[in-house]
Amino acid sequence: MSSHTGTATLTPHLARLEAESIAIIREVAASFRKPVMLYSIGKDSGVMLHLALKAFAPGKPPFPLLHVDTTWKFREMIAFRDMMAEKVGMELLVHTNPDGIARGIGPIASGSALHTQVMKTEGLKQALDKWGFDAAFGGARRDEEKSRAKERIFSFRGPGHSWDPRGQRPELWNLFNTRIREGESIRVFPLSNWTEYDVWDYVLAEDIPVVPLYFAKERPVVKRSGTWIMVDDERLPLEPGERPQMRMVRFRTLGCYPLSGAVESTAATLPEIIAEMRVARTSERQGRLIDTDEEASMEKKKREGYF
């Protein structure tokens, strides 16, 4: 491509991914009554939001952002979320499952499986129903996990947000089937064809803000199940004799802090993060405690309505 001015820094590969994602995002705006963009504050959400801003320039994206807050996110994530919403000037909706709060559900008290089910999956479904959204963008990528590799870009959800992996609509060319009936919805994944490398390359090339937790820094952590857990607030109960220690760590993926493992690292800049990835021998989801609960656990959660 010969003629880029502003995107001169993008490689042909990234330029192609960017164009594909922008087309997907525009398609949703053109085809659905009430779309929403799930904003989970991580790097993928950041890239997706950046693409949405680009897709509708010189206007604003014609949909709000939605964050399903489990109340267990890192404090830095929440601060970053509010800063970003302010900066891009889009409406930010926040929903927390009130039943979960009433029942005292949390990752420590209830275990990761129940916490995820109630605070994330149920919370998300409540939010989609509450505002009546008929299409919801998510930042998931096909390279993340096996059952994601099979998911459509426009992924149909039946009544109750159910996903039937064996009955997915064939998706040919870029002719997305956007037709739904009352009570049905579509989840849309504009980053389907991106890899973790592409995301970081793009963050660097486009200078996209990301949560500081991705960069290495001395943080108070404890070792749990072979991974470093950050003591982000006083709610993390310490085991007898356990004391937080300061370690240079960073996060490859962000979620609820008691469920997000940190890696020891000195990568404090984007180029250093990317350099570290070159030699990485573990996948980014490895630090996520929620995926290893049981075999095929992601497929199971997705059928129940998880993103």
């Binding site: 502003g6 042909p12 705006a29 320039a57 064939p170 089937n177 490398y197």
Partner: protein
């Protein structure tokens, strides 16, 4: 420099793997990922765990389990759905579509092929070219793939035999000569042990060609999309304020610059490109693949679905055309039935007017057909609800590829590839008469409409319609009744009771009813009309409010008991086939204008309900 950082600097190759069951597709992709060092340690741990549980390779890790992602797939050891995998080498990035081999998943294979520019067709060296090999090759060819790799797999199980390899390649080349491939490159491999996948094999000194990966890294599959005629499907009209009106979309083919003249393909309105707007500033030019927002120098009427082209390169615009159709739905495609078509950004009603032939995907023979079942491919004539800019699929996918969607379930039911527009589409024009429906209706003081009675045989449709018509007649309303007796003995004498013929029967009735409405009459139609799709088709033929669907709801037990013509008795005895309610389905209306439950009520009470409804609509009767 390791593999990953080079990722993205280079071009991307999208390819698919296909082959028969157990040919080793998933194992091959697992091998490519494994040898490209893209398998992370924690993935290997879970793979080892899975291998012990579901694997078929003894104590070794089963690479196929890397890609078979769905629970059912791992349990059954087969690939059901298309999966996308990503890997890269210093030379290229790859997206692999891993597609299923079973015939019942042909649609999923076509899905993978629609986005690929090369296909790796696996053949089991012990089995040679099979029916499935032919089917997959044909589908690849139909979807426009021009470059093929024939990977003769499990060569270790035939003692790395050169003779076996040569024989299989010979068979394949002979068969594929008619499929229009640009290149066919054969490679002998063992996906399980890695021979000639990424590493040259020491077991086959007779083979001097490239390894599979070498070939994938170097093969030239470039399509000069930017050099083709300019096609810009408008996706979204961007109107953030009164001073800006831009047309957002992705350039499908060709290139464009400010000052270039463009024309809206369907309407013929012309203007010039004013600006090429992006979030990163205006561009001096743009080409195929770029997502941009164009502004025009003039206030031209342009909406989503329109296509901007150059004046000298306008595509034909037609509402009838011929195309190949791959059917992907459990419910068969019937000519005459209405579907929704998506082509580019246009959604329009569409139906197949005739199946010219069905292609036997295993032998490539052409057969006559009256329907297309799941996974069948036909060459058909189509009629669309509006005139559409069309190009042959092989010249332009943006204006030549389409999907058909079921109007009720919204399932993606068919994938089409345009061959050519039909001439009659541009030559037949509707005559406009000065005396129209409104004038005719006004003369007799009538509100023309169709009262459509649907229900099981013996439910009482004709009896109720008869009473309603008498009342309308007494009130001075011009009416006409259409029912099975006066239609099937004449206009539809040539039709039977198969699903295809029922569709055609209702299509004709609908067209006749429309003419009577045009003549200013109230038309009472009493037909079983068991399928939602056909009732919908008739509704769509008429204007808003002109179609009143009346569901005469009598339980089948009551119909069987009444059995006024003795038909149920004969159907139950097996003497009548395709009898609705016995061995042919009845799809009850979901939202009829009137739902009459006849149980325990007289025909007079039921018809009073219809008359009340008409009076409520302002019709004195």
């Amino acid at each position: 420099m390791t593999l990953h950082r080079k990722l993205g600097q280079h071009e991307l190759l999208r390819f698919l793997t296909c082959g028969s069951v157990d040919d080793g597709k998933s194992t091959l992709i697992g091998r490519l990922l494994y040898d490209s060092q893209l398998i992370f340690e924690d993935t290997l741990v879970s793979l080892a765990k899975d291998s012990r549980k579901h694997g078929t390779t003894g104590d070794e890790i089963d690479l196929a389990l890397l890609v078979d992602g769905l629970e059912a797939e791992r349990q059954q050891g087969i690939t059901i759905d298309v999966a996308y995998r990503f890997f890269a080498t210093p030379r290229r990035s790859f997206i692999v579509a891993d597609t299923p081999g079973h015939e019942q998943y042909t649609r999923n294979m076509a899905t993978g092929a629609s986005g690929a520019s090369l296909a790796v067709i696996l053949i089991d060296a012990r089995k040679g070219v099979l029916t499935q090999t032919r089917r997959h090759s044909y589908i690849c060819s139909l979807l426009g793939i021009r470059d093929i790799v024939v990977a003769v797999n499990k060569i270790d199980l035939v003692n790395f035999s050169e003779d076996t390899f040569d024989r299989i390649v010979g068979d394949y080349v002979t068969f594929a000569s008619e499929l229009g491939f640009r290149s066919v490159v054969p490679v002998p491999i063992s996906a399980r042990f890695g021979d000639n996948v990424t590493q040259r094999s020491g077991n086959m000194p007779w083979y001097h060609g490239p390894t599979l990966l070498e070939h994938l890294e170097t093969v030239d599959v470039t399509q000069d999309l930017a050099g083709k005629p300019f096609r810009f499907p408008v996706q979204w009209v961007n109107r953030p304020n009164l001073d800006f009106r831009g047309f957002a979309g992705t350039i499908a083919a060709g290139r464009i610059a400010p000052g270039d003249q463009v024309v809206v393909a369907a309407s013929g309105k012309t203007s010039r490109i004013a600006r090429i707007v992006t979030a990163d500033g205006d561009l001096p030019s743009a080409e195929a693949g770029q997502a941009v927002t164009l502004t025009l120098e003039d206030e031209v009427d342009v909406a989503r679905g329109d296509i901007l082209v150059r004046p000298a390169e306008r595509p034909p615009v037609a509402d009838q055309f011929a195309a190949h159709l791959l059917w992907m739905d459990e419910e068969a495609m019937l000519p005459g039935r209405g579907y929704l078509m998506r082509i580019g950004n246009i959604w329009t009603p569409c139906s197949v007017t005739s199946i010219r032939h069905r292609v036997d995907v295993n032998t490539l023979e052409e057969h006559a057909a009256r329907r297309l079942a799941l996974n069948e491919i036909g060459f058909c004539n189509f009629s669309a609800g509006q005139a559409i800019p069309l190009d042959p699929y092989e010249e332009s996918r943006a204006t030549g590829a389409f999907i058909l969607v079921d109007r009720f379930t919204n399932r993606t039911a068919g994938a089409g590839m345009v061959a050519y527009p039909l001439r009659r589409a541009s030559n037949i024009h509707h005559e406009h008469f000065s005396v129209d429906k409104t004038a005719r209706a006004a003369l007799v003081g009538n509100t023309p409409m169709v009262l459509w009675f649907t229900g099981l045989s013996g439910s009482g449709k004709s009896t109720i319609a008869n009473i309603v018509e008498q009342a309308l007649h007494r009130a001075g309303r011009p009416t006409y009744s259409l029912d099975g007796d006066n239609i099937r003995h004449g206009l539809c004498r040539d039709l039977g009771f198969t699903a295809e013929d029922r569709v055609e029967n209702i299509r004709r009735v609908g067209e006749v009813a429309k003419l009577f409405v045009d003549a200013g009459m109230i038309v009472l139609c009493s037909f079983i009309s068991p399928f939602q799709a056909e009732r919908r088709m008739v509704r769509d033929l008429l204007g808003p409010g002109e179609f009143v669907e009346i569901f005469v709801d009598t339980p089948i037990e009551a119909c069987i008991q009444r059995d006024p013509k003795g038909l149920y008795a004969r159907a139950q005895a097996g003497q009548i086939k395709n009898f609705t309610g016995i061995d042919s389905p009845y799809e009850a209306p979901e939202h009829p204008e009137l739902h009459i439950r006849t149980a325990g009520r007289s025909p007079e009470e039921c018809s009073a309900e219809v008359l009340d409804r008409l009076r409520a609509a302002g019709i004195a009767c």
